[in-house]
Symmetry: C2
Subunit: 281 residues, 2 copies
């Protein structure tokens, strides 16, 4: 009997799903963090502990690990490095990819398409004839176009341009100042703010999209997002699937520019699909 394990690993925790060869789910468990780039040993430990917990929950002996094909989508993976340590995984077969790959595969299912994943950060990916491409996603300081963190920072910067008189200080700009304690408080906020702190400032832009400052920020970010999606379209249109905490807000605002398709599954579904791709011919 062959078993299939999907691992959706992230910086705060990982989820694992075990199924039999027919796709019937035998167990689903959670474990601790799986960020390979910050803690390789801890990640390996958590993946092994989670796998054993899944076998136990399915009523299988630990030795069944030797009949498991595993698909792992992990945060912080550098694919070229993963070859060095993937041999330490206890599975019969394993394939390790980035969590962006499993999210994309989960969202698109069997179909070609583009995924715009926009939450606190952002990343853009396509599957085209089985070929995976990923662009954007360079992080808060250098990229993450249209993400909550970047939008929140743009909101504060635009407010200060209003204070300086080189852009209109709109009602949303004045509300921003009132909420954060005035212009003089903003550099201190920015000095300590993490991406999640900025991201909390982003939804207000969508709630008040006719405010001229909100409109300017959203239009700039929309063009950044559009450039990335157009790049992935490569001239031959694929439908776009919007995911992440801001995905639906962006879809409502600019989704009509491209054919659109709802997500058909999660990153854990994508990890399962990866595991099944290792099935013996």
């Amino acid at each position: 009997m062959q078993y299939f394990l999907g691992v959706d690993g992230g910086g705060t925790g990982c989820r694992l799903r075990l199924s039999d060869a027919s796709g019937r789910v035998l167990a689903e468990v959670s474990e601790g963090p799986a960020n390979i780039s910050t803690d390789l040993e801890g990640t390996l430990r958590n993946i092994i502990a989670g796998s054993q917990a899944a076998l136990k929950a399915a009523g299988l002996p630990p030795s069944a690990l030797e009949r498991v094909s595993a698909g792992l989508g992990l945060a912080g993976v550098n694919i070229s490095d993963s070859a060095l340590w993937a041999g330490r995984l206890p599975f019969e077969r394993a394939r390790v990819v980035t969590d962006a790959w499993t999210s994309t595969r989960g969202a698109l299912g069997e179909s070609d398409g583009i995924v715009a994943a926009i939450g606190t950060g952002s990343v853009f990916a396509s599957l085209r004839g089985g070929h995976y491409s990923q662009i954007g996603g360079w992080g808060f300081h250098l990229g993450d176009e249209g993400s909550g963190a970047v939008l929140g920072r743009m909101r504060l910067a635009a407010t200060l341009r209003g204070v300086d008189g080189i852009a209109p200080l709109t009602p949303l700009g004045r509300a921003t100042l009132a909420d954060l304690g005035g212009a003089a408080a903003l550099p201190g906020f920015a000095k300590d703010a993490r991406p999640a702190d900025y991201a909390r400032l982003a939804p207000a832009l969508f709630e008040d999209p006719d405010d001229p400052m909100a409109a300017a920020v959203l239009n700039t970010a929309a063009e950044d997002i559009a450039a990335l999606i157009e790049r992935l379209q490569e001239g031959s249109p694929l439908p776009v699937t919007w995911t992440g905490g801001l995905g639906l807000l962006w879809a409502t605002r600019i989704g009509q520019r491209w054919p659109e398709r709802a997500a058909c599954g999660t990153a854990l579904d994508g990890a399962m699909a990866l595991a099944f791709s290792l099935r013996e011919a």
Copy 2:
């Protein structure tokens, strides 16, 4: 006999100059940091110690402090708070302003004008009929238009847009990747980089201004700078004085848009001018 003291206080140290009523310099000394917002007590201690050292170097007794008019330009000053502690200074008369004010006054001398101070950070100020205005300077995350830190970050972000294929990957972009260890290394650099780390990446843009990526970054930053200067011009042209580590590079690139004037002094000169403004009528 009246004495006049100028204090140019910064986060890494302060300089003090003592002169007599005729403007003759009696002593000039250095002391420790003077950042009011991070260490009020230490700043007061350093200013008092520096003042006493200046008197001693000039052959004057400590009691001469009571005949000193002092002009202080300090980093981290919030003018409304300074009223609360300025009374603890031992001088006959004292006035406390931001170091941006003394830099501006020093650069402009007696004349009206605009100062574009552009180094690792940036700030823009004007003196018009004795009235001081300051805009920009909101720090690396939210402003500091055209500064070394912001230019360095723009260089990395533009390089990654080149990698993603939404902008040209130019010779300077390829050199950026080679210098920093490839695209995958850039998010890690950005995660830990301080403004000074980014600022080291800025001069290369000016050295290779015909590279299309460098040109695009410099043109964007130039328009940001121009908007701030035009705002301070208020429609009636004042000459622009360029200061800071990148001031001359920017002056060469865009200085011809406005009348230009060389800096006529330093922040310490500005602090002395402030001290003399307290002279008894």
